[in-house]
Amino acid sequence: MQQLPPRSPHWVYVFDQAFFNETDARVHLYDGDNYRRLGQIDAGFLPAIAISPDGSTTAVATTYFARGGHGTRTDVVEFTDNTTLGVTGEIVLPAKLSETTPTLFSAAYSADGHFLYTAYITPAASFGVLDPLHRTVLSEIPTAGCVLVIPSGTNRVSSLCDSGRLLTVTLDAHGHEASRAMSSPFFDVATDPVFVQGIRSTRGFTFLSFLGEVHDVDFTGAQPAFAPPWSLVGAAEKGVWRPGAQQVGAIHRALGRLYVPMHMGGEGTHKDGGTEIWVFELATHKRVARWPLQPQGLSRIVAIQVSQDAAPLLFAATDTANVAVFDARSGELRHVEKHLGQTPWMLLNP
C-alpha cells in the first residue's frame, strides 16, 4: 500500500458531508504547505470522525446501507491507518448512531486512546464505550436526554443537557459506568444557547454562544469547572455581530489566540457563516484583529481550524466549498483551494 510522506502539522483533515448525496461523505487529507490533496477516507452516511490522540488513526463512525441508498442498515466504526489511508479494521455498533451535522463530540477518544466513545440518538440519548485496540464494544450508557460525548482524562465523558448543564459519567477500567454527576447550569438555552461545536482549549473545551459569549470549560478535574464567561462583542455590537458557522472557532493553544467567523445578522442566522474572522487574545479577552473576507474574494466561512505549530496556518472553509489557507499570525492569505469537496463543514487536525 502506498505510504504517505511524513506527517506535517500543516496537514488538515477536511470533513465533507456530501450534503447533496449524503450516503457518500468523505474526509479529504490536505497539505497546507504544498496545496495539494494527499488522499481520501470514505465516510458513509452522516458520519462522526475522530482522530486518535497520537494522530496515527482516523476513526469513522458511520452508517452504511446494504444496497447503497437502501437495504439493511449497518452502523460501524472503521479505523484508517493515517500513514497509508487504508482501512485496518472495524467495530460493528448497535444501529443507534446520532446522525447529525459534524461536531467534535459525535465520536471522541479518551486522552490515552484506550476508549472510543460514540454518541447515540434513537431519539433516546446514550453513548457507546468501545475498545479501539481490541476492537470491541464495552458498554452503552444512557444519558437521560443529554447528548454528545465530550471526552476528558482517560475515563470521563460529559454530555450537554437541555438544562444548560453538563452530565459527566466516570468509567471504570472496563468501560462501564462508575459514577455520574450533573454540573450547575452554565448557559441558558432559551436566551442564549451555546453551539455544540466546542473548540479544544488548553485545559478542555471552549463553547461559544449564539450571541457571542465565551464559555471556557476546564475539564482537567474530576468535574468540569466553568470560567466566568466573557464576550466577543462590545455592547454596541451585541446582537448585531455574532458568530455563525458549522464549526465556529479555533484556538491556537500555545499562542493563546481564538479565531471566530463573525457576521452581521439577527436571530436565526447562527449558521450563516462568517464574513470576517475575528482574532482574540485569550489572556486578555481583547480582540487583536479583524480579517474581512470579501475583499480577498472569499465567501462566508463555515468551518475553521488552526495548526498548533510555531508557524501556524489558519484553514477556513467557505460556503462555496473552497478552503482558504492563511498565515495564522498575520492573516496573510496564502492560498485558496477551490472545491475541496462538496460541503466541507469541519476541519480537523491531530
Binding site: Q17, F19, F20, N21, E22, T23, D24, F45, L46, T63, F65, G68, G69, H70, R73, S98, E99, T100, T101, I121, T122, P123, C146, V147, L148, L160, C161, D162, V189, P193, V194, F195, V196, A245, Q246, E267, G268, T269, H270, K271, D272, G273, R300, V302, D319, T343, W345
Partner: protein, 171 residues
C-alpha cells in the same frame, strides 16, 4: 403519495386552537414520548439558501422564503417529486420531527410548524433551504434541525423535508 397533513393536521390544528402555545408543545411532547404518532421533532444540514428576498409573503409554499419554512433545513420536497406537505413517491414521512414557530405575514399570526423528513432514498439535492428562526442546538431536539429525523424510520436515509402547519401559536 401520502399526505402528512392527513396524518396530523386536523387534530393538531384543533388542539392548537384550543390551547396556548406552551400547553400545545407540552401535549405534543407527551404524545411524542409515548409513541411516535405525531410529527414532532426533524433534520438539518447547514448554511446555503438564506431568506433574504424582499416581500416573502408574495412567494408560494414551493419557495424557500415562504413563511412556513422559517426553521427548515434540508431539501424542499416540492422540488423532489412531492409537495410542501407530501413526500415524493417511494419515500416515507418521518413519524418524529422538529417544530418551528413561524410568522405568517398574511394574517399576522404565528403558527406551529412540524418539519418532517421524507426517508428512504439518498438526499434529493434540489432546492436546498436552510432557515433557522428560533432553531436550537441538538440538546433541545424538538427545536433542532441538524438531526436526521429519519432516525426512527425503517429506512433512515434522508431525502427531503416537508413543512406541515399544526396550528396557531397562541401567545
Amino acid at each position: 403519495m401520502r399526505s402528512i397533513d392527513e396524518l396530523c393536521e386536523n387534530s393538531a390544528r384543533a388542539l392548537a386552537q384550543r390551547t396556548s402555545r406552551r400547553s400545545l408543545l407540552a401535549a405534543l411532547g407527551q404524545l411524542l414520548t409515548g409513541a411516535a404518532l405525531l410529527p414532532l421533532l426533524p433534520m438539518d444540514r447547514a448554511h446555503r439558501a438564506r431568506a433574504d428576498e424582499a416581500r416573502p409573503e408574495a412567494l408560494g409554499p414551493d419557495s424557500c422564503q415562504y413563511w412556513k419554512h422559517c426553521a427548515i433545513d434540508g431539501f424542499l420536497c416540492a422540488c423532489c417529486g412531492g409537495s410542501s406537505t407530501a413526500c415524493p413517491p417511494g419515500t416515507a414521512p418521518s413519524p418524529i420531527s422538529w417544530i418551528g414557530t413561524c410568522h405568517n405575514p398574511g394574517d399576522g399570526r404565528d403558527y406551529i410548524v412540524s418539519y418532517n423528513d421524507c426517508c428512504g432514498k439518498t438526499s434529493c439535492g434540489n432546492c436546498e433551504c436552510n432557515r433557522n428562526e428560533r432553531e436550537k442546538p441538538m440538546y433541545r431536539p424538538s427545536r433542532n434541525n441538524d438531526l436526521n429525523w429519519c432516525m426512527a424510520n425503517a429506512n433512515v436515509n434522508y431525502h427531503c423535508t416537508v413543512s406541515v402547519i399544526l396550528g396557531v401559536a397562541n401567545k
